[in-house]
Symmetry: C2
Subunit: 210 residues, 2 copies
DNA sequence: GTCTATAGACCGATAGAC
DNA sequence: GTCTATCGGTCTATAGAC
């Protein structure tokens, strides 16, 4: 890995722990064994480092959701042919697994964790960051789940109901437990179990098979 | 209002906007028309100002929940006699109103808003602050709702189900929409409506009257 | 692309006059 | 309880040698 990338990696680590204002250029340079002056040969300011981290994370996050078949930005579009094929026959159990995979990755992957923490403590710094936070950590999954439930209702897999409300009832508790998990890592096991219980019971409650 | 209190008020305002590290003693002093040296006659350090704000907010938040009959710290205790009297005969509609009152106050009251923002961006600064955030903004209402649903199930008002899961499905979406509301105040009306829709549909879905 | 040195501003906190 | 002045330190960022 070259110096330019190592700087972003170290900066992200520290921004996520101490925030933007709590992290100095010297703090970033020291662990890399270079002087802070050297940083300015790669980035013209501290703000540029922060912006680059955000920019890069946006790309990586889209890639991740793409892998999980969650189409993130294009909320206006309908579900793709592929999605319909995959989900029209999916079982509730399969959906649980899908969500749990997403949660486990988000919570254990060091990079995801650092970006989420950094965005959490920076969400009020500008309206752009606030909107990005909402879009990334709330609406991406919520919009997807909404369309999914619409399909599942149509297919008769789950009971009648407003897909948007169902999506919120399904996904909001997942966000909530992930928040506890982030703040109190010692409760990781407990949170994972709560999420598992929640998704299972959600599908028991909404399933048409009684 | 005396100077000591005005300092806390101004500090909270700025901490909630720019964070602890982003706010200097001069920043706090200037709007009050005093020098930063004067601050040190009232508080021995910047950290002490922060701690006092947290301490005071804890008391005020307990008072607020007390008014709403939500007993916050004592999660081990059973619901009080008063609670049982009030809620054993309460209608789903009444419960909706109760939640909406809480939400509207939390989101429009300037002090509540500032404290919540400050805690949100400070939640990773120490494990104590993280725990406080969870306890205050998640578990207080969640634990209360859990007991409440237990009662409502027992009384036959709503359908069978795990009270803890039900509480999460009921309250987590409220937290989620409040988060959007905080980050994007221009969406306030939309969020309020979403919360209203959610609580109404939740009781429609879980009610025993079909 | 790295370093040392430094500019210039600002930081938290203190001393002492009034 | 307020002020001005100041301390010692850190901050972002730059200059210039190698």
């Amino acid at each position: 890995m070259n110096t330019k990338e190592m700087i972003l990696e170290e900066a992200l680590k520290q921004f996520s722990e101490k925030g933007y204002d709590g992290t100095s250029m010297s703090d970033i340079a020291a662990p890399l064994g270079i002087s802070k002056a050297a940083l300015y040969k790669h980035y013209k300011s501290k703000q540029e480092i922060f912006d680059k981290i955000i920019e890069e994370s946006e790309i990586k996050y889209k890639d991740l959701l793409e892998k999980l078949s969650v189409h993130y930005i294009d909320n206006s579009k309908k579900l793709s042919k592929k999605d319909l094929d995959v989900y029209s026959e999916i079982s509730a159990k399969g959906l649980c697994e899908n969500v749990l995979t997403f949660v486990r990755f988000s919570m254990t992957d060091e990079y995801s964790k650092q970006v989420r923490r950094m965005l959490t403590i920076s969400q009020f710094q500008s309206s752009e960051l606030g909107q990005m936070y909402t879009r990334r950590y709330v609406e991406a999954m919520l919009g997807y789940d909404e369309k999914l439930f619409k399909q599942l209702i149509k297919a008769g897999v789950i009971k009648e109901g407003n897909p948007k409300t169902l999506a919120a009832m399904f996904y909001a508790p997942v966000i909530m437990y992930m928040g506890i998990w982030d703040r109190e890592p010692e409760r990781a096991k407990e949170c994972e179990k709560s999420i598992k219980n929640h998704v299972e019971q959600f599908f028991m409650m909404t399933s048409n098979r009684e």
